[in-house]
């Protein structure tokens, strides 16, 4: 463990700090949302709704923190891998845990023809790795090893904690804001403005609801591009050769789109859909391959 801890020390520390900041940020946003909602609907319930929103936020974060991995796995429909059927998966991960001194993660498989994988969990002791059936079919042993090594690096440096927390907590904020916006929309159409003073909070509420997911996503995306490079580099440290990962990334170029929720997309080895936009979660494959070649 020491070896891993020494070399990943900065990454681990940053990820832990980011995770705490994220939790705090999400908490503040949720309470602010509750505050805005209480004014928008009925100011007389202000105190009650505020307390309720604090309680709900804490519960929400608590549940999200301890179940983030299961939520991520469930959202992609992953099933527990079978040691017999997926023997090579187990063998390779076991070998890599020996090389890295990490505990054995739980292994999952998701049914999909494309090559992709992700790791999740709150720390290395509660980590999971999920790969698609396509990955098992299309990659050779060395390439699969490169992919798994990349995922183990995410586990070793606590990327999984921050990234999964972001996916789960932010994903839910998006849902809550959406519900809020929709009910606001309905309400403003049905009732006439008998309480004008609430107009300002109504606007705040709407602005918050729109901004919340964007802000949090921006924070996440800013960091996750660098994470992929770091994980690629440490993957090579475990396998001692970039060949496997280079081969895997080259094959991933042929991937078609996968249907996964936008919230968990940044967790994946390579972005699940090809639409490129301003908020790119992954660096381009060519750049990653280029960097690996130079190692």
């Amino acid at each position: 463990m020491e070896q891993v801890r020494l070399s990943f020390y900065d990454e681990i520390r940053n990820n832990k700090i980011y995770s705490v900041l994220l939790i705090f940020f999400v908490f503040v946003i949720l309470v602010a949302l509750g505050y805005a909602i209480s004014f928008a609907f009925d100011p007389s319930y202000f105190f009650f709704i505020l307390v309720l929103s604090i309680v709900i936020s804490i519960l929400y974060i608590w549940i999200g923190y301890y179940n983030s991995a299961s939520i991520a796995i469930a959202s992609v429909g992953g099933i527990v891998a079978n040691p017999r059927e997926h023997k090579i998966f187990f063998d390779l991960v076991e070998g890599l845990t020996l090389a890295s001194g990490l505990p054995m993660p739980k292994l999952y498989v998701m049914k999909n023809d494309q090559i992709n994988a992700f790791a999740s969990g709150r720390d290395p002791k509660h980590a999971v790795i999920c790969i698609t059936t396509g990955t098992l079919e299309k990659l050779n042993k060395q390439e699969l090893e490169g992919v798994l090594s990349h995922e183990l690096s995410h586990i070793a440096n606590y990327d999984i904690r921050f990234m999964t927390l972001t996916a789960v907590l932010v994903g839910m904020i998006a849902i809550i804001s959406e519900i809020f916006l929709r009910s606001m929309w309905n309400q403003s159409r049905s009732s006439n403005d008998d309480n004008k003073g609430n107009g300002i909070f109504l606007i705040i509420g709407i602005v918050l609801a729109i901004l919340a997911p964007i802000i949090v996503q921006l924070v996440q995306l800013a960091i996750s591009r660098k994470r992929e490079f770091v994980a690629d580099a440490s993957a090579v440290k475990f396998t001692r050769t970039p060949t496997g990962l280079i081969g895997a990334l080259s094959k991933i170029k042929e991937n078609r789109d996968m249907k996964v929720s936008g919230a968990v997309a940044p967790l994946f080895l390579a972005k699940p859909n090809r639409v490129s936009n301003l908020f790119e979660t992954h660096p381009p494959l060519e750049v990653r391959i280029e960097k690996l070649r130079k190692m």
């Binding site: 020491e2 023997k87 001194g101």
Partner: protein, 183 residues
């Protein structure tokens, strides 16, 4: 009065430094010992599979008694090995013997079609990979350990506590090069 506070503070800081270094050594030694026990687990698994392997090839490779015996012998010396160096050496010999056996098995199409044999072959090669990884982690541990035992200021504490530089595990040439078979 202030004087004593300063002296006390310095003593505490020095003590912390001494403890910290001791713990660093202790942690690395634990890591090294742990990675050795991981190697040991895999060596034991390999040894446990040998009787199955011998049983499954015996019927097919009647004229290769020499190679089968060498595998059995190598297993015996692995099981009998007591110390670390002995175990690793015996493990390497067993690996080499098994490698030769698999190379010769290439000449027996019936054997290569045998489900049980194929399973053992994949298992043996998985174990070989795991041993290689466990050794790599062992050597990584030795490297960190040696780095602090030989650089300043770690080296002062090392000599104070009596921690000495440790040897790397050398990966035998036989394992690195593909196995050649003479006929």
């Amino acid at each position: 009065m202030t004087m004593w506070w300063i002296i006390g503070g310095v003593v505490v800081i020095i003590a912390i430094i001494f403890f910290t270094y001791y713990n660093r050594f202790a942690r690395l030694i634990n890591q090294i010992e742990n990675s050795f026990s991981q190697i040991d687990v895999q060596l034991k698994k390999r040894a446990d599979l040998v009787p199955n392997l011998v049983a499954s090839v015996k019927g097919y490779m009647k004229h290769e008694k020499g190679i089968i015996d060498s595998v059995t012998e190598a297993r015996k010396s692995l099981v009998g090995a007591r110390d670390f160096a002995g175990k690793v050496r015996a493990g390497d010999q067993l690996q080499a013997a098994i490698g030769r056996l698999f190379a010769i098995a290439e000449n027996y199409p019936n054997l290569k079609a045998n489900e049980n044999f194929l399973q053992l072959q994949t298992e043996m090669s998985a174990i070989e990979d795991k041993i290689a990884y466990a050794r790599q982690y062992y050597n990584d541990g030795i490297m960190s350990y040696n780095t602090i035992t030989t650089t300043i200021p770690g080296t002062w504490f090392a000599s104070l506590y009596g921690f000495k530089k440790k040897d790397y595990l050398h990966i035998p040439d036989k394992e690195r090069a593909p196995i050649k078979v003479d006929f």
